[in-house]
């Protein structure tokens, strides 16, 4: 696998990547992904920078969700799916033999498009669900994590008096913040978010955007969005995808103001179709 990294066309990689000396957290190399016979990703190469927010934009069906689901091995849960190529997390291939899917998913957390708290668990139990899976039993440290993560996502003041209530009893925006808290409670290194605001109203969206911006101090964030303004507001880097290919990847301002590819330009100016 690693051989193919170096053998990649150098010019090609420079075109696809922002050239700076920032630390790389995840590196996608020659990634192809299939749903049974349908190829959804074609030779994707992407460098996810540490402690930055990277946005993935592109028209519906272009493979954004597929790409981020390949970053924590969720793609393989779809029956008949297949992945080739590699995704390096701190230089180690997550599809290689020294990492298993459970480790990968603990280190690379995920928040979904539709808030999906566990409805039969209390708010508190939702937050600590991942810790229990990891074998943490200590009650007092759980309490501590509950408080810390709920504060982190700005939910503590809203729910501190009914931590025993069902996670499903919250509003949509609160549920999504609860899901973010649940993902953060196990202290992942990377947080993947697949259109986390698409089911939310503008106020709730603003809260989550603010949260994402604050998260990058501690985490590396990859967010899929179909909202270009959102990408422009919160992302340091933006990748544009089209028909399963990564067309262009650059610093957000460059990509939006000075796209190198005509496709990108047409997409961001809304002349697509």
């Amino acid at each position: 696998m690693l051989e193919s990294v170096t053998s990649l066309d150098v010019e090609e990689r420079q075109r696809l990547e922002p050239h700076d000396a920032l630390e790389t957290k995840m590196e996608v190399v020659g990634l192809d992904a299939w749903y049974s016979t349908k190829q959804a990703l074609v030779d994707v190469n992407l460098n996810v920078r540490s402690n930055k927010v990277t946005a993935i934009i592109g028209p519906s069906g272009c493979g954004k969700s597929t790409l981020i689901r390949c970053l924590n091995r969720m793609h393989e849960l779809v029956p008949g799916s297949r992945v080739t190529g590699s995704v390096l997390l701190d230089g180690k291939n997550i599809y290689g033999s020294d990492l298993d899917a459970v480790d990968v998913r603990r280190r690379v957390g995920m928040v979904f498009q539709k808030p999906n708290p566990f409805p039969n668990m209390s708010i508190a139990d939702n937050v600590t669900a991942g810790l229990k899976l990891a074998g943490v039993k200590d009650e007092s440290s759980m309490k501590e994590v509950e408080r810390r993560t709920l504060e982190r996502v700005g939910l503590w003041d809203e729910v501190k008096d009914d931590l025993k209530r069902s996670g499903a009893s919250l509003s949509g925006g609160q549920q999504q913040r609860l899901c973010i808290a649940r993902a953060l409670a196990i202290e992942p290194e990377v947080l993947l978010m697949d259109e986390p605001c698409s089911a939310l109203d503008p106020t709730a969206t603003a809260k989550i955007e603010q949260l994402i911006t604050s998260l990058k101090q501690t985490y590396t964030v990859v967010i899929v969005t179909h909202n270009m303004q959102q990408a422009a507001r919160i992302a340091d880097y933006t990748a544009f995808m089209y028909l399963g290919k990564l067309i262009e990847y650059d610093e957000t301002t460059t990509l939006f103001e000075n796209p190198r590819q005509e496709l990108t330009e047409r997409y961001i100016t809304g002349k697509f179709g």
Partner: protein, 309 residues
């Protein structure tokens, strides 16, 4: 336009209300039919349920042994049948490869449609002899220190009836709980996977927890079927009105009592006694259902705070 639509709406609503209340009305009718049919013996009061002598010739009617037999056989059926059913349901919804799913589901649903007399025949001519010669002697020699595995082995017994009941309720409990598991949205499974859950943890933490009310409903229905099952139990329990600590002894059940003695009941009071046995069957299964629901609600609430599932 608007008015017409809301008119149709009201009509639809009242129609569903009529259907829903017909269930209530029907159960009330059953109850009162049984109640009035058994006035002759109802007069003698609670001794009907607490008495353990059943002697129609001398007009002594006590159904405690039958009540005991019904409860114990149903309990055995649930203890054996529910774990197997859940295993089948979990396999079908979470583990089985796609190609096996519908053939196995088909077979399970076919089994649910097999008439109970067939289960009874099979139990009597196939299973009971095997249990008598190969299984019960081993139970007695290994676990004979337990009072439940002592005494003479006949083949027909409370345990035999319970085992066949377990087999009978498995198809129904399995297919209803499979449907409940299949109704769990994938987003719930993904939520657990994304936290680093293994497949079995996903099943426990998200799937079973999400589907639990459907799973419990399937267990209630399984209990109802086992408790009221008549034909197979009549053929397998031995129809002896005795309360014995041993599961290997013959026993009797309320439903078996009614079915097997109705043709012999020549006196009014005998008929009344059998109808009252039916009443006891109805009331006890109602009470058992309510109690189980309350227990589960309590159980869930206290666990909610502590842990999942």
């Amino acid at each position: 336009m608007k008015r017409r639509r809301s008119g149709a709406d009201t009509a639809f609503k009242s129609m569903t209300l009529i259907f829903a209340s017909s269930a209530v009305v029907l159960s009330l009718i059953y109850f009162f039919e049984l109640y009035y049919g058994s006035t002759l013996t109802l007069k003698s009061g609670i001794s009907f349920v607490t008495g353990s002598t059943w002697d129609p010739n001398n007009q002594v009617f006590g159904v405690l042994p039958m009540l005991y037999g019904s409860l114990v056989t149903s309990a055995i059926a649930l203890i054996i049948g529910v774990p197997i059913s859940l295993g089948v349901a979990i396999f079908l919804s979470e583990i089985s490869p796609q190609v096996l799913r519908s053939p196995i589901s088909f077979v399970v649903e076919m089994l649910a449609a097999v008439p109970s007399v067939i289960y009874g025949l099979w139990g009597l001519f196939v299973l009971a002899p095997i249990l008598r010669t190969n299984v019960y002697p081993i139970l007695e020699s290994r676990l004979g220190f337990l009072p439940i595995f002592q005494g003479t082995i006949y083949g027909v017994s409370v345990l035999t009836a319970g085992i066949v009941l377990a087999i009978m309720i498995i198809p129904m409990v399995a297919s209803i709980s499979r449907d409940a598991l299949l109704a769990v949205p994938d987003s719930q499974r993904e939520a657990a996977y994304a936290l680093g859950a293994t497949r079995s943890e996903v099943i426990r933490m998200s799937v079973l927890s999400y589907a639990r009310s459907g799973v419990f409903a399937s267990i209630f229905l399984g209990f109802g079927r086992a408790f009221g099952e008549t034909m197979a139990v009549t053929m397998l329990i031995g129809n002896t009105p005795l309360i014995s600590a041993s599961l290997l002894s013959p026993g009797y059940s309320l439903a078996a009592l009614v079915a097997s003695e109705f043709t012999e009941a020549t006196t009014q009071v005998y008929i009344s006694a059998l109808i009252e046995a039916g009443l006891v069957l109805l009331v006890v299964s109602f009470i058992a259902n309510v109690v189980a629901r309350l227990l589960i609600r309590r159980l869930i609430r206290s666990r909610e705070a502590a842990s999942y599932l």
